[in-house]
Subunit: 123 residues, 2 copies
């Protein structure tokens, strides 16, 4: 492993921050399925505020991961779609999603074991 992976400003850290963003990856995976408009995204993703949505969309666009396409209708229509770069990032996230689905049960049972252990020691 590259030594600077543990430094504060290594590439991995920056990307991990992106991926770690509560909504960014979710949006990326959604847009990989199909292009979508603002309010459709808003409705599809439970619990996101429009402030967060517009903020995350903007930063994803800034990173070149998604593209914003405004059509001058009245009222205005805006469609978001994933870029080639975004597509490759989404692909790199897939193993993580697979891992999650396969191993969540193990994680949860580990948590239960840990909590029971702690409780026992407290007594």
């Amino acid at each position: 492993m590259k030594p600077d992976v543990y430094a504060a400003n290594c590439p991995t850290r920056q990307i991990l921050d992106r991926v770690g963003d509560k909504w960014a990856v979710l949006i990326l995976l959604l847009l990989r399925e199909e292009p979508m408009r603002f309010n459709r995204l808003r409705r599809t993703i439970e619990g996101i505020s429009q402030k967060m949505l517009s903020q995350v969309l903007k930063s994803l666009e800034r990173d070149g991961l998604i593209r914003r396409h405004a059509i001058a209708t009245v009222p205005v229509t805006v469609e978001y779609s994933i870029t080639q770069l975004g597509l490759t990032l989404a692909g790199a996230v897939d193993p993580l999603r697979d891992w999650a689905e396969q191993n969540l049960k193990d994680v949860l049972s580990a948590q239960r074991r840990y909590d029971a252990q702690q409780k026992e020691e407290a007594a």
Copy 2:
């Protein structure tokens, strides 16, 4: 893709939160290299407070991703190591790290383009 990937409590979301944790993955990758003791980790990871370190270590242990081994010396010696489960998670993170190293340049240049565009439109 599974439909519930966009719900608030899907497995992926939970794991993504873990991975998104600023320090958790870093620690995981470090412990994959070799087992380490508390202060060694603290020194190796720049900028982490001991509060955060102990907190993240505890939650990683709770999830069954790392193991804590205390040796009754004076003063006490504690060694942390990665588990089998943690090893597989670290493996799932690798594609992401590779992506980061390969594509960070593209992301940065996209950001510069975006910022220049914004500045121009403001004028």
